[in-house]
Amino acid sequence: MTRPQYWRGYAEREASPEFQAALESEFGEEASPSTLGEPTRRGFLGLVSAALAGGSLAGCVRRPEQRIMPYSKAPEDLLPGVPQRYATATHLAGEVIGLLVESHEGRPTKLEGNPDHPTSGGGTNALQQGWIFDLYDPTRLTTPLKGHKPATLDEAAAFIKAQIIEAKGGVAVLSEAAPSPSLMAMRARLEAKGVRWITYEPINRDAEAEGLQAALKARLIARPRVGAARVILSLDADFLGVEGTVAQTRDWAASRRALKSRLYVVEGRYSLTGTNADHRLRLRSDAVEGYAWALASALGVDDPEIKAAAPKPALSVAAQANLKAVAADLKAGGGLVLAGRRQPPVVHALVAHINQALKAPVDYFPAAAPVNEPLNGAAALAGLVKAIKAGEIEALVILGGDPARTAPADLKLGEALGQLKTLVHLADRPCATARLAHLTIPRSHFLEAWSDWVSAEGVVSIQQPLVAPLHASWSAHTLLAHLLGDEEKGCHAIVRGHYRALRGALGFHRAWRKWLHDGLMPERAFEASPAVASGLGGLKASTPIEGPLVEFVEDPHLFDGRFEHNVLLQEAPDPVTKLTWDNAALMSPKTAKALGVIAEQRVSLKVGEALVHLPAWIVPGMADESVFVALGYGAALKNAVEYAQQSQVGVDVYPLRATAGASWAAVKIEPLDEAYPLACVQRYARLDPGYDYPERHNVREATLAEYQANPTFAKPGIIKHGEPIPKGEVIHPPEASIFGDHDYSKGNQWGMVIDLNACTGCNACLMACVAENNIPAVGKAEVMKGRELHWIRMDRYFVGDEEDPQVVHQPMACQQCETAPCENVCPVAATTHSPEGLNDMAYNRCIGTRYCSNNCPFKVRRFNFYNYAKDQAELAQMQRNPNVTVRFRGVMEKCTYCVQRINAGKRLARDAADPRAIIESITPACGQACPAGAIVFGDINDKKSRVSALKQQPLDYTLLSSLNLQPRTSYLAKVRNPNPKLEG
């Protein structure tokens, strides 16, 4: 059987020579950082500095004076060299996360999940890991801009007083989602004064709120308890991706590890959740609603309004078969259905009914927003535009975000903003809205300001800053205090005052201190409320759209675009497409064929009059007749990364997104005769190498039934002479090391287990590693050359059917081989083995022969081809972890199991009463961040440690065992739980 190698092959196999030439020449021009012909900024600066150095050599060289001074008044509890941790919290579009922040001598350097906070449990996602870089982002606004000229904060205050408070016209506030009780109190006071308040988030849960309002007759938010369900059906709900919460990933992974749950996904795009599904039904997103209607009827949802409104089922044969099995499985008990936020309100209403019928584990919480707020942010925004045009609103204050860009295109918000007499924008960085503003005030990062957040589950946390504002900036609280003309303008006093008034002064200080210490308040703001579904509130079935669709999806790293300046998040590969630095028109192989498009060929997408050009990228498993585009790209990134060599990454697709088509819209797609190179980090996506060779066994998986029949299926086979070759990895009998090995029976011996069953492929470990280990971004051009520096490579393989493949994720960092092949080839002994079984790198000794990388069978070593670390902006360098060497150019680097954390733990253990517990608590950054708890680290000599216990499991296997590498990292094989009725 021959298998077409279509992942690597689309561009190469099908492209005409002309196209290929165009691709290559474009690649060459854009990608090579320096060609002889064109002088680069870098080259020029190099020459200038060489000339300068030469010149100054003639005189005398004076180094800039630097002083290291002791504290004249030392801060309490601060020991130089010992990091401090503080609890805080923040939110992303209303989704709150409790955090612990590590701070080195007053510099916050790393975010971790707060283990005591129900929203986290210690885990974080990739986005939260990358958030720390925002604080030190060199593109942040550093000073208020009055009429686009730098001004002081006092001038800003005076401007607000004169232009808004003392002016007569109508005033409105346009805010991002802000579930802050103290801010809401200020809002109520403003509204009492006649100020209009509009909340708009480009990526929101408005459809859910509307659907639940219709079915449950209350303003509620659904919180499915995914850990408690036996069978989960996700209708386009990416609850393991950014659409979900860290807690959901945690709970789902726990049930997954216990081999107790089954996941069905019905969706159009290949989401992260889809990659973890046991059964995934590929339906175009607008057809998911039809599935929901049919499911409601199959499950016997007994509601007259649903029965009346149900459309005629129009499901394919495959979908019907799937539906039948899914419905039976859900009915068998422990069923739970989730609806995606991109789905229309009626799907959410139906799902509320279905979950009620299934008695599914779903909690409904009252929404944090005031009752008077419209359910639909876009509608509220439309009202604002109307009011501005009617002259009712003359002054507008925008709290964060970039609504001029992210608002539905048909509202033409930008035009309306231009008509305002006064526009004040609390902005993070220069953006489309800030360009229109008469006054732009830099917004403080959440690590610079006080606030409070109430999570969807009612958990209240105080946002505690770790550092004084780096720039002249205000928080939303401070700005509102100015707007209200309050005496007290500091956000600390406002937030603290709010709770002091609420709780009473008696014992408040002590309680406040405890809240800050714990990162949350013991009492919840509200509890889950009972809800009974009845009727659809007049919601109707929508009609599927004819012809191709363009679907707008949130980016797993840039979200709605608020992180697009964040180069490290830009460089984190998309979990499914493995693309970095760009969004693309994602389409299935069949769609691409129908359009006559190959990967990296530009296509034009036309929705109404709006037109954008995007490069195509082919992803198997995407629904046919649909292209998927990520929001939030297209920002100008001037010199964000030295080697990016481009001023803009990705394409802004907000112009295509209108009120009516916020999730998807009918589109005209036309292939263009241009190529646009994309930076994909994984060029080969299959486990079978080709030429009819068997699949490589680095990922091992079985179904639950297979596992139960043969629990040791993952154990590698070794040839025994005279016996048939077992299925598994085979080369030849184990070789012996010719060099003397360390005695690994003594002391702490570090090891790691990665559970492929729990790993969702979310990239949290990758970003945590980047933040912990001072790994710089290298830029798109370098990624295109295959030089990304991530120590953890998130491998993603497609398996099975070419149109409908399944996916396996495999995080791969240095495996810390006991007989490491990298070590004996290094001519200068820069990489050697520690007695604790670590494969150490002495960066200062490395001369960069790259022989170690060549000889690494996992290819997990990374080389500094240029001076990536030094070329980071000075402000961005503030984020660095002082316990990790910053690598110079020409040096090889790699995962060390976070040796700095190991050593810190060992120091603590030396004096501890229970050293074992301390040793057991040592966790590398990846393991700490993993929301699924898939990465377990510890001492394998301690037979009672978690890692030892996991290594005894029958699912445990090591990679390439026949090379006698003795890796310290082992994997737990993946066990899928397919429905036997849907098999075959």
């Binding site: 190498p689 680095n698 040839i719 004996n824 002994a829 000889n855 290819k859």
Partner: protein, 464 residues
Amino acid sequence: MAHNYDAETLFPPPLVDNDLSFGEVTEKICGIVEAPPNHKWLLALIPALTGLTILGGAIGWLIWEGTGIWGLNNPMGWGWAIVNFVFWVGIGHAGTLISAILFLFRQRWRTAINRFAEAMTIFAVICALIFPGIHVGRVWAAYWMLPLPNQMSMWPNFRSPLLWDVFAVSTYFTVSLMFWYVGLVPDMATLRDRAKSKIGFWIYGVLSLGWRGANRHWQNYERAYLLLAALATPLVLSVHTIVSFDFAVSLIPGWHTTIFPPYFVAGAIFSGFAMVLTLAIPARKIFGLEDFITVRHIENMTKIILVTGMMVGYAYAMEFFIAWYSGSEYESFAFVNRALGPFGWAYFIMVSCNVITPQIFWFKKMRTNMTVVFILSIFVNIGMWFERFVITMSLHRDFIPSSWDYYSPTIFDILTFIGSFGLFFTLFILFMKFLPAVAMAEVKGVLPQADPHWSGYHEEGHDD
């Protein structure tokens, strides 16, 4: 018992054509050095110097900017620099082989070509030595590969094949240089004696180490030459064996093979002789050395190319056989991928140039046609460069498919390679002008006149 000897065995043709006398040999060879530089020579020097300048620029930019200017990436830690290194070291093999092994085997025809074959060896090794030095990420710390005593007691890693390389290649260079220089001493003395300028007199005088042609000098010289030849002979085998260890000692499929040492040595001799031919054929024309480097010399060398080419071809076939026979899916995949994968085109070039085209040397007509031989020698050079390229590119698909990638050189890879030819030819062209390109003393030793029984000494002659 009756033997049927053919005429050539009984009466071998003279090794030097046109019945030159001792004086004429001296005149011809020294004439090249003593004549003022002519246009032809200058015209050859200009492109060579241009190449040298390119090399300097490319290396300068490399050191300034970083290894990133090359096309390397993550799975492909080595690229053109290592290919070029092995290529040049390989070329360096012919010189020692001709001068040492053929000397020990009393192959007297070698005398005409040994001088510049040795020169070629030294210049090729100089070119080769550049690459391991500059390919490291931190050039300024490359000396850490040498076992220099230091206060940290930090020694290089003696397990690393790269370190063995350092020793092997530097030893080879040193011995080759000594061998070459010792052979030059009598000829330097000749040049000194004929020098008309003071500077020439002094320079050649110092270089000839006070050589006066005394019987004792000759005895010591012959002894030293023999010893050095014996010393250099194992090096011919060892250097490329060690170089092949860079690959063979690793565990990468396509590198990890025991056939590499003999295969590399055969390949090195193959490429070395090809390069000698590439140089000799134009040089004998330009400098009028047809009497010394005769068609017979050329023909002998083509025979060696034919033999070593087939050895290399055998190795190519055996690699595939063993890959299949090993039962290792990684190993056999590596070879199938080598021939059919993304770098299949390079494999095709390699096999065509190294195995297929040299087969025309079965025909004497082809062996003696200078144009054909010259073109073929270029083919072999190309093929052998691609052999190293193909081997190095094994990196692109090893064990874990997600790390697989492709390699494309950048302009700097190409310029550095071109530049290395500039260095090579600059050195070679300077050598041709300032040093005797043919070993006069040795050639005189193989002239018929050198035979005490030469009929020319006895006009009446014997009735043999």
